[in-house]
Structures are given as C-alpha cells and as structure tokens.
Amino acid sequence: SQQGEEDPQALSIQEGENATMNCSYKTSINNLQWYRQNSGRGLVHLILIRSNEREKHSGRLRVTLDTSKKSSSLLITASRAADTASYFCATDDNKGAQKLVFGQGTRLTINP
C-alpha cells in the first residue's frame, strides 16, 4: 500500500513560474524525502526533512512538513526547462525506519 500520495498527478507551467507539489501520508514518520526522476533514469535524492522540522531549503527547493496534517509540499522556484521530470515523495515506515515507501509521483512539465 502507498504511504505517500502526491498531488497533482501532473502539472504544466511556464518557465520562470513556481511549481508546487503536495504529498500526503497516512502514518507517523521519522522523515520525509523528495526525489526527482528524469525520463528513463533512476531517481535522484533531492532533500530530506525530519519529523521535528517544519521547513527546509536547498537552492531553489523549499520543502515544508506539517505532521499534524500528515502532509508535505515541495516548491520549486523560478522553474527551468531542466526541471521537467517526475517528483516523488517517500516516507519511512516508522518500523525501524529501514525502508522507504514511495508515492506515485507528480509529473512536472516546464514549457519554454
């Protein structure tokens, strides 16, 4: 069963605009992670936010976590064509935290 669910499933914006993707999960977690996947490639780790953190930044990425609502958001500012990819959230299962459960992903398209 999926722990994380991303919303929207697909997002298309113009280059330079900001892109926001959301992730909801069901059970308590130790941390939440975001990954990017370019077409035909493996996933690449972007950022991790721990359950005691509310916001984290990395370059043009901003991640928020609301454990009371069991939700997270990923904001990409000043989008570029190279940001076109699928984005996945992943959560540990809080049972020894040995493995991650991934959502189905948001397909982001940046139009020039």
Partner: protein, 115 residues
C-alpha cells in the same frame, strides 16, 4: 549512477523462464533494495537487504527471491517469469536505511519484458 550498477539494462524473456537481475555497488553501503516501477503504481518495494545474508520481504515479493552473499552484490530472481512481472526494476542503496540524510542512491534500472 555513481557507485551502483544494474545488469542487464534491458532483457526480454519468455514466460516460465527464470531470470536473475544483478545490482552491484562500490559504496560499501549496508542497505540494498529492489523496487519495481509500473505506470499508476509508482515504486513498490520487492525485497530489501540490511546486511550480508540478511533480507526481508517488501510489499510485492510474491514470485521473487533475492540473495546477498557479499556486501556489494544483491541479486533479484524471478523464479518463473510471468507477463505481470514486465516492469522496470530499480536497485537502490543506502548507508543507514530510511533515515540517511543522503537518501537512497538508485541504479539506472533494468527494463524487463516477459513475452
């Protein structure tokens, strides 16, 4: 991807035949994972390993077995391939499981087609 390689990259096999996919790492990471990716399902965990000879089942383990006889290699075997196992298979490694600040490092994937 640096430090992790999957082989083969592509494979076409017939229904009923056994198939083995290999994941090799040079990072000396403790944890290794096999996921499959299918449209509409995202990534689903098949099996994972938390050390040499230490493995556990994931969400979709039926029809699959794994072995890890040394730190660097994690093998996924489809005992008798079925068309429902047509998928893209990803291996991932991690230093400390789901809590690593660096997350997982993924291989480039193996595209398996069962005909």
């Amino acid at each position: 991807d640096a430090g992790i390689t999957q082989s083969p990259r592509h494979k076409v096999t017939e229904t009923g035949t056994p198939v083995t996919l290999r994941c090799h790492q040079t990072e000396n990471h403790r944890y290794m994972y096999w996921y499959r990716q299918d449209p509409g399902h995202g990534l689903r965990l098949i099996h994972y390993s938390y050390g040499v000879k230490d493995t556990d089942k994931g969400e979709v383990s039926d029809g699959y077995s794994v072995s890890r006889s040394k730190t660097e290699d994690f093998l996924l075997t489809l005992e008798s391939a079925t068309s429902s196992q047509t998928s893209v298979y990803f291996c991932a490694i991690s230093e400390s499981g789901g809590t690593s600040s660096y997350g997982y490092t993924f291989g480039s994937g193996t595209r398996l087609t069962v005909v």
